[in-house]
Subunit: 582 residues, 2 copies
């Protein structure tokens, strides 16, 4: 076996083309074997094996620097840069991350996970190289799907005016996650159809030289193309046409389904997705019902439709009332604002980690105009994604401090639905709803009207201690109250509902006959909900414990560990409250 | 005079072409007259008179909807939509805002001020029109400078796949604010040079039909072009070549200097800029000295170089150590991260209001990677710009809650310089510095090392009351202490320096022998610095007053009024503290 002998890119360079092809086959086998056990980005990695081999054959990493976009296609890169064991030895499967990671290797330059960043980051490396009078190639790898993100355009546009070595490899596998969207993709299709000769060339229009490689899974062809641009003194795009999922028949056929796959049976292709009721399914059915009931309702999504259960069938059912803008969160929010202004009822849904890409559009385009769009923030909280690059814990500080934006945090499925009903029908203001991840059914009886802003709900009236348990941490509040009960304290339990403001009347009332408040929120505490309560209590004489996550970039810390480390277990909350009562 | 008889676009339609030209001349005269008294966006508005007339002649606003980007070129639009008096009667000069404003007129659809938003917002209106089965044209106006912003690209790319009426008027005046940057502008130049025939056509590459108008200040030509695209069923770009500053000889010659001009002498062109020492001049000299001292220092800016005093002469002096990326803040931050990773010393400077456009790049590209770039946040605080669309009061909540980012708030010029010295030379982490607007000289003696994070400085040790006076509000803290002194209270005065963290040791120490803390910050209090202090004091038994601005989109409220309304005058602070001491 060759792969286990590859300790660095130098070992790749020593092989002839036939051996490189054999190596590619070995790498695909290892990838499939590992992915079947661990799950992961199957499609992107299987399609990019050959390009990776050719890159390392032609260029001299780490002197030549390869910067991956998203970096969910960097498994082959890891195999060829001293980390093959992590793909060969099941006991070491978890020894590397699913993204590039500078801590792992000098061949990795950035830790990234959001799309559309590679061109700008790599241009920084190229510019530093030039300022320091050094040499070497800088190569940014970017997928066709990532090209729709504004940051990638800004980077390409800026790079287009440099007169220096800067190579962009566009990995065109004809789709991002679901189908691709945007006029640009028609141009890419034209370029593919004309072997790169079409006049509508986005890259040339931005100032790049351009080279097309139709056979993007053929190593010899790729080597020739990369040799031709190596040491180029001008920015150049190498547009490589690859096959997503190549080598795994089911992934080749269902490219959306296999973009990321859970562990699967390598012999039958059966994926072991989790079972049971899921929020995305519930959301999808809810949104489809809304779409059917009102032709003005329009659901907007940005390239990850599976996140709200909008598979191809549901997308078809929704028709023109479903808009996938591609990876373009800024546009999505501004579009929603325009739709609301025009009298439609837009609902934009995205994961917490991606809402970060659109702060100014939330503030300026949407909230300063106070247009009544509805936002659904999914996958939010410490129980959302837990890679450093996909943390879903910053949305409360980000969104709850923008004027005019009402940020509602339902505690369960039914509350989520009544809040969304209200948000979609009202015409006064933008409303965001933080969708919990777990499927909790609590009750069917919730207020239907949230137009009296910042009105919290007292679910149980006790004494001495009041627990403000926000959204998906409501259950944790209930559990903490139970612990306190054991110690003889009958705590008041509040469902705050609004993350974006304080129920001052209630806070003042409770402060009169309570000694300790504790706030619980499923996200970073700094800048968040609890700090508003603590501030509101500044002169009220009540003690306030604010419990949320400390401000950190956590890396794959399991949910309950994260809670324990931040004194968020019900037992810890109760202990700290009892201590404060002393 | 015709202009005073124009009450609505219908009155424009009644004129023949010769009268329209006379009207344009009248409008330019009125513009120059008003601008000479009030100051404003001279260049953009003078160049866009003719296009505006032609738009209102051909289209039927408000049924047809015109959406302006930035909207700093909408003065002519206001003149033709019932608001001419605001440009003719000096007593009414201030009756309209400098941007589109839905409260003023049904012809204005959005309140905007940041660039690159018009395409997405207008596409929302067009989509709402289609969903509701209505008709009418939707026209997005965007300047060439705004095209470099990622949001504009995302909008164009998405629009390019629609099969519906959507007209984009690209106002190409060959420059944004300073010279244009980016490969795209070479393409625009090629299109101008070839009368629109060049093959490198960015708009076609994104799926748009395309039409070029060379004589973009000729009303008859413009009318013909707009008539040709009216009721188009496909997305189409009308690329209009206009002359910035047309009609005012000094503005025609110095297009950068007259983009926005203070009041001026209409006879001589002498602009009455404010006098005296300014932070931008000090910053410019400081940065130039850094550039000269170290070839690895590189100053990055995004299209408003005047904000740091980088006029053409200084830009030339800085050479390749100065990078203007154009309006592309996302790219600027990611580029800085890449530069820092590559061993250069990047310093990215932008106004507080524009840092909002790059939250995710700060978080993911820069801070998750912990690369040692320096950010200078200028024009920050309630004494920064005060249009709703350009408020500079949200940067503390935005930046102080991102992990790894150190946000320093100097109290005066000298402290700003030592903090920047430290930030630029250290290699551990990203550091942002909030540049105060006023030029305060306080002392030459400041700590040179800020690597012990979150260490506040006690400037005066008193008793009972401690004032935490952050950054540019340090002086306000001094004044409040003086007020308290009159009432017999010798307050402790703290210069917190770090907006991004709490000096827990100091807070606990002061809590032992003080009764009241008050925090002062020059920005929105929610999610900001003071709330961290209030939270830290949750169980310490000290009262905490958090003083900053309430979370609102303020519109042109004078600085001291804003302070008074938020109980931030020294007298009010002292009164509230004394009340809390009771």
């Amino acid at each position: 076996m060759m792969l286990e002998k590859i300790k660095s890119p130098a070992d790749v360079k020593a092989l002839d083309v036939y051996s490189l092809e054999a190596l590619a086959a070995e790498m695909r086998t290892a990838l499939i074997q590992k992915l079947s056990k661990t799950g992961g980005h199957a499609g992107p990695n299987l399609g990019f094996v050959d390009v990776t081999i050719a890159l390392h054959y032609v260029f001299d990493s780490p002197k030549d620097k390869i910067v991956y976009d998203v970096s969910h296609q960097s498994y082959s890169h890891k195999m060829l840069t001293g980390r093959a064991e992590a793909f060969l030895d099941p006991e070491k499967y978890w020894s590397v991350t699913g993204y590039t990671e500078p801590c792992e290797s000098e061949h990795d330059h950035f830790m990234v996970g959001h799309t559309s960043t590679s061109v700008s980051l790599a241009l920084g490396l190229a510019t530093a190289r030039d300022l320091k009078g050094e040499t070497g190639n800088v190569i940014a790898v970017i997928g066709d799907g990532s090209l729709s993100g504004g940051e990638a355009f800004e980077g390409l546009d800026n790079a287009g005016e440099y007169a220096t070595n800067f190579i962009v490899v566009v990995n065109d596998n004809e789709m991002s996650i679901a189908e691709n969207h945007g006029g640009l993709y028609k141009s890419l299709a034209e370029l593919r159809a004309t072997a790169g000769e079409s006049g509508n060339n986005y890259f040339k229009a931005l100032g790049f030289d351009y080279r097309y490689v139709e056979r993007g899974n053929d190593i010899a062809t790729l080597i020739e193309a990369f040799k031709a641009v190596k040491d180029s003194k001008r920015p150049v795009v190498v547009h490589v046409h690859t096959q997503k999922g190549r080598g795994l028949v089911w992934a080749e056929e269902d490219r959306e389904g296999w973009h990321w796959a859970a562990p699967f049976d390598a012999a039958t292709g059966v994926v072991h997705w989790g079972t049971g009721e899921s929020y995305s399914e519930i959301l999808a059915e809810y949104l489809l019902a809304k779409i059917k009931a009102d032709p003005k309702v329009v659901v907007i999504h940005s390239a990850v439709p599976a996140g709200i259960g909008f598979n191809a069938g549901r997308r078809k059912m929704a028709g023109r009332q479903y808009i996938d803008v591609g990876i373009a969160e800024e546009h999505a929010v501004a579009l929603a604002s325009g739709l609301a202004k025009g009298g439609a009822k837009p609902i934009y849904s995205t994961h917490s980690t991606f809402i970060q890409r659109t702060y100014d559009q939330l503030s300026q385009d949407l909230c300063a105009n106070n247009n009544p769009a509805t936002l659904l923030v999914t996958c939010a909280g410490a129980d959302g994604m837990n890679d450093t690059t996909h943390l879903c814990i910053f949305d409360i500080p980000l969104m709850s401090n923008i004027p005019n934006l009402v940020y509602l945090c339902p505690t369960c499925v039914e509350e989520m639905k009544v809040m969304a009903d209200w948000a979609i029908d009202q015409t006064e203001r933008p409303v965001a709803i933080r969708v919990p991840n777990g499927v909790t059914h609590r009750s069917d009886v919730f207020d239907k009207d949230y137009s009296r802003l910042n009105t919290y709900k007292v679910e149980h009236r006790g004494s001495r201690v009041a627990i403000f348990a926000l959204g998906s941490f409501y259950d944790r509040g209930v559990a903490a109250a139970l612990e306190l009960k054991k110690a003889g304290v009958d705590a008041t339990l509040v469902n705050p509902r609004f993350a974006s403001g304080v129920d001052m009347a209630l806070v003042e009332e409770l402060a009169c006959d309570h000694e300790v408040f504790v706030t619980l929120e499923n996200g970073v505490a700094e800048g968040g909900f609890g700090q508003k309560i603590a501030t509101a209590c500044g002169t009220l004489g009540v003690k306030v414990l604010v419990r949320g996550l400390a401000k950190e970039f956590y890396d794959k810390v399991p949910f309950e560990t994260l809670c324990e480390n931040n004194r968020l277990s019900p037992r810890q909350v109760a202990d700290d409250v009892l201590e404060a009562l002393k």
